[in-house]
Amino acid sequence: MTVIDPTPRARTSDVKITLRGIGKVFPLNKTPGAAPREFVALSEINLDIRRGEFLAIVGPSGSGKSTLLDILAGLAPINSGEALIDGRALSGPDLDRGIVLQGDSLFPWRTVRKNIEFGLEVKKTPKQERRGVVDRYLRLVGLTEFDNHFPHELSGGMKQRVALARALAYDPEILLMDEPFAAVDALTRETLQNELLSIWEATGKTIVFVTHSIEEAIYLSDRVAVLTSNPGTISHIIDVNLPRPRNSGDLRSSPEFGRIRHTLWQLLQGREGRA
């Protein structure tokens, strides 16, 4: 796919990811003879994600959040539209993007250290170099003493830290996160959110964060994209103009936080007309 006429915004350096009219359909039945039916998972997705931005995507179940993330990861081909990273067509998975999934996606046969090292092995980083890199990311997520533990010996929160370190270790420019904190308890989740924010501020990664939690989306992100289902499309993009760093004081109780939360809630309920 060649880009004949990229939109002016896509040319500017501050746009990292451009999605133009993205559509994705899944065939529903392949019964011979029967009329082919398909499920439109995503339709007419238009989105510019800025370099270094923290963008959250919220939406109900089945709105195609994970599918959108799969497209960004290069794991799902698109049926229409174009997806660009740095102005170049996205053609498949690559080491410029790292993914963190919900639940337990660690390799249970590898120690914490070997899990974090995985991407570096694929990247063919020399062995002696890997050690230092892994040490740095172990420190970053506070798991230095656990480097020789196996995933089944860790708590849920620790596992997600390892998953985050594994995605960061090979230094991708973009982090794609699919409900990474959905399976941990509320307190741990807040800790992980703050840790993610400070890592983001320290590394300047572009983060696309899929969640079903409105609060989580507001607390973390610069902008929140609202996906609605049938077909999955971005109905609104809400700016979150809350001061950073966000972990100072009880931001979640501030009036501005409440106002955005209410707006998003109404959008997700489909009541924006009555507001």
């Binding site: 290069g74 993007r97 249970p108 590898r110």
Partner: protein, 331 residues
């Protein structure tokens, strides 16, 4: 210091308690025979059987037959692995549709009574070793095949997704994700196969052989050498138990990272990580050398015994054959 002594005592106590069942059984066996609660001719006391085991070990017949049995078991199992592992990978990942289509056929085939297979394979392949290998391989193929198929089919899609997102090659995916993830389940299949192999081996040797532990047991029974029969039976039971124990502990040592495995004991909180034993080159070489030794020694014994037997069978007096074989063991 005293604390440690108490712990050791407790461990010893536990051990004694756990083996008390076995001790009681042996004691009951001995007394029942000594006080002729049962006919001592048909159930000699276990001390007599133990002495017989020592004698059989001393005259070499136990080692010889054990080597022959091992070669048959290992050969059959190896054949099952060579067929089952690649086929399981194909049915689990590459040709899933083919696997599903063939599944009913394979399930029925796996349910065919091994003795029927033995009859058929003897008719087709004759009384030689190939019929025995075939039956043993046939029986041990199914657990290996089914467990390998399941193992590859149920690799966590998230783990595959993580690897794919890094644009790994197919070979890397296989080596770094699919095989490590599938190994514990595959190993369980191999362990089950090994157990079944041992069972069917003894049966095959009873019906259709002139050597091996099963033959030793059957032949001595036919010749009313009762202590020899019990000695052979005891050796078979103990070997089967040890084989299972060995494979279980190997499984635990290799896959202690696999918390979901039923054979792995887990504790909720562990201060120090439990070491996972990674077989180093030395261990692998030792295992390979041991297997090669068993193959060579067993193969040699097997050829020797088969040659002797065929010479005897060529002789005029076939009627004396069975008695003659019996007395040979006695010597």
């Amino acid at each position: 210091m005293t604390e440690m002594r108490t712990m050791n005592l407790a461990a010893l106590h536990n051990k004694l308690l756990r083996s008390s069942g076995i001790l009681f059984f042996l004691l009951l066996w001995e007394t029942a025979s000594r006080f002729t609660w049962v006919d001592a001719y048909f159930l000699p006391p276990c001390s007599t059987v133990a002495a017989e085991i020592v004698r059989l070990f001393g005259d070499g017949s136990l080692v010889s037959n054990l080597a022959i049995s091992s070669v048959r078991a290992l050969g059959g199992l190896l054949l099952a692995l060579i067929i089952g592992l690649p086929l399981g990978f194909l049915f689990g990942r590459r040709l899933v549709i083919v696997g599903e289509i063939l599944d009913p056929l394979l399930r029925i085939a796996s349910q065919v009574n091994p003795f029927l297979v033995l009859m058929a394979s003897t008719l087709i392949l004759g009384f030689g070793e190939s019929a025995k290998f075939f039956v043993i391989a046939w029986v041990s193929l199914w657990p290996v095949l089914f467990y390998t198929t399941t193992a590859f089919h149920t690799v966590d899609p998230y783990q595959i997704k993580i690897a794919r997102s890094l644009a790994v090659s197919e070979t890397e995916l296989l080596a770094k994700v699919l095989i490590p993830s599938a190994l514990p389940t595959i190993f369980t299949g191999i362990r089950i196969s090994a157990g079944i192999t041992f069972f069917i081996l003894v049966a095959v040797e009873m019906l259709n052989a002139t050597s091996g532990l099963g033959w030793l047991e059957h032949n001595s029974a036919m010749n009313f050498e009762i202590p020899t029969m019990y000695a052979a039976a005891t050796v078979i039971v103990v070997l089967g138990f040890l084989l299972n124990r060995f494979l279980l502990s190997l499984e635990n040592a290799l896959f202690s990272w696999n918390a979901s495995s039923s054979t792995v004991t887990r504790s909720a909180v562990r201060e120090e990580p439990k070491p996972v034993w990674r077989p180093n080159r030395g261990a692998a070489m030792t295992a390979a050398a041991a297997l090669a030794l068993v193959f060579c020694a067993g193969g040699y014994e097997l050829r020797k015994v088969n040659a002797e037997r065929s010479r005897e069978l060529a002789g005029p007096d076939l009627g004396k054959h069975a008695r003659h074989l019996g007395s040979e063991v006695r010597k």
